[in-house]
Amino acid sequence: MPPSWNILDFEKPIAELDDQISEIKRITAERGEDRSEDVATLEADRDRLIEEIFANLTPWDKTLLARHPKRPYTLDYVRAIFDDYTELHGDKQFADDKAMIGGIATLDGRQVMFVGQQKGRDLKDRQYRNFGSSRPEGYRKAQRLMKLAEKFKRPVIVFVDTPAADVSVGAEERGISEAIARSMMEMSSLETPVVVVVIGEGGSGGAIGIAVGDKILMQEHAIYSVLPPEGCAAIIWRDATKGKEAADALKLTAQSALELGVIDEIVPEPLGGAHRNMEAAARNVKAAIVKALDEVEKLSIPKLVDKRYKKFRAMGAYAEKKSE
């Protein structure tokens, strides 16, 4: 039974039904009775309820879902998607960033490099992972691994899941801005395919710092935003508690990101969100990655790199008056 702190408010009715179902299952199993029909009815009721609730999620609800304490993180997907993987550490300059992981892996027999932001599950683990906020050495590690992939002509799979880049004194001392800037620059001309999946929080510069790819995928309930809604509220309205309003205004859902032309595809999540069925979530992510790779690997490297440049070149809104 999950402790109540990792159930969101709008999930509570679902959790109550979940509890009832497992209670009935437990009791009937003890007594040796068969009440599978009742259970099936209850489960159908529950699924209808989930559908109803999830059809009406606000951007703020989605923000909470993207940050759900039970949501699968990068390593969960790495373990589920790849046949095997070998993690590689460090930027070979200063340190190993625990919030940015990476390594080599096989994906259906295909050799790939993976890079991704990693959050922690419990309190200790969260601190160890710096809450998923990468330090400069994380972005430098990512660059190093991507350059290796380029050298050996292997594609790169990127998992994005960060509230934001690290803003500590140490991060500024070691040039977090430069690390992010250079990472984007290197990725923009990397001579190997890059597929990016936003799996949780695509937070600001911390996210785009490793998200310059040929295909940008995003899970159905992930968010991708210029700033965390609370930070946006702090800047625009000077009131960090207005996160809900900011989430609406920021258009940070996968559906909005697709409309805005920033991502290429939404990866569907199992009913009730990725955390309710990890295996199904990973299956969908894997299928989307393989499909994207098949597509981009068809292009010659010069065409691929040119297309990637033009893809990001075209982003952003402006009006041009044809003058004179």
Partner: protein, 289 residues
């Protein structure tokens, strides 16, 4: 891309600025230095390039003022002056804000780009104006930076980007954020083409601008005392960063930690840019030999 005449705008902006600084004290003759409290005679202040003659505090400059002290008189030709912002998110009050800053500064958006000569050396120059919505980078700024860089590659001109920005224009959301990737990618093109690229950081140079084209120059010089870093204090406070060194996120902090090539006082800025340009711009006779 016919160069638009920029000279008319200069006069207008200059008048505006004079009026703005006059607001500080009622008679419009004096300004009080915000750091040392010295009362500065406005005429003296202008003569001193808006630097306090007592403590060396550097006042912010408008893009027009910046161009005037960087580019040789009468050589600047603006490009892409006809780009304007178009509110990709339909963000609350976007149009109202935009109009406010347009009226305040006389600019259409936060950056002026164009070609000009710097001590006789032709260059592509881009200047952000902090007075325009905090120098924020949205679709227009991103596009103009990239177009300037691409035009510089075509014309084989060195690029000088002068930054003054709070970061990405948050009100443009995700498409705004993408300007970081877009401008960083253009910097990659610059470097591949062997084009010299000088970044001049001025107060403040933050977040999405510092975290993209502001950190990717061949040379990075900054004015003294300026604020630079990935996060604004208001955001950092929210993230509960508590213990900070005195000069945290200042140019001096960045110099100490190896992130800028030099801190250069305003009076020496142009001559320093010229020295750097002379180093990287090869004359034909050099290559002929």
């Amino acid at each position: 891309m016919t160069p638009a005449p920029w000279f008319g705008r200069k006069a207008k902006s200059a008048r505006k600025t004079a009026r703005l600084s006059a607001d500080a004290l009622p008679d419009g003759l004096w300004t009080k230095c915000p750091t040392c409290g010295e009362i500065l005679f406005n005429k003296e202040l202008e003569k001193n390039l808006r630097v306090c003659n007592k403590c060396g505090f550097h006042y912010k400059l408008s893009a027009a003022q910046r161009l005037a002290i960087t580019v040789d008189d009468g050589t600047f030709a603006e490009i892409n002056a006809n780009l304007s912002s178009s509110d990709p998110l339909k963000f609350p009050d976007y149009d109202k804000q935009l109009k406010k800053y347009q009226e305040k500064t006389g600019l259409i958006d936060g950056i002026i780009t164009g070609t000009g000569e710097i001590d006789g050396i032709p260059a592509m120059v881009g200047v952000l104006d902090f007075n325009f919505w905090g120098g924020s980078m949205g679709g227009v700024v991103g596009e103009k930076v990239v177009r300037a860089m691409e035009a510089a590659i075509d014309a084989k001109l060195p690029v000088v980007m002068i930054t003054a920005s709070g970061g990405i224009r948050v009100n443009e959301g995700l498409p705004g954020l993408m300007q970081m990737a877009k401008t960083a990618a253009a910097c990659g093109k610059l470097h591949k083409a062997g084009i010299p690229y000088i970044v001049v950081l001025t107060d403040p140079s933050m977040a999405g601008v510092l975290g993209s084209y502001g950190s990717l120059g061949d040379f990075t010089i900054s004015e003294p005392g300026l604020l630079m870093g990935l996060t604004a204090d208001r955001v950092a406070k929210q993230a509960q960063v508590i213990h900070v060194p005195d000069n945290f996120r200042r140019a001096e902090f960045a110099l100490e930690h190896g992130q800028v090539d030099r801190i250069v006082p305003r009076r020496e800025l142009k001559s320093t840019i010229v020295k750097l340009l002379q180093f990287c711009v090869r004359e034909e006779k050099e290559d002929a030999a």
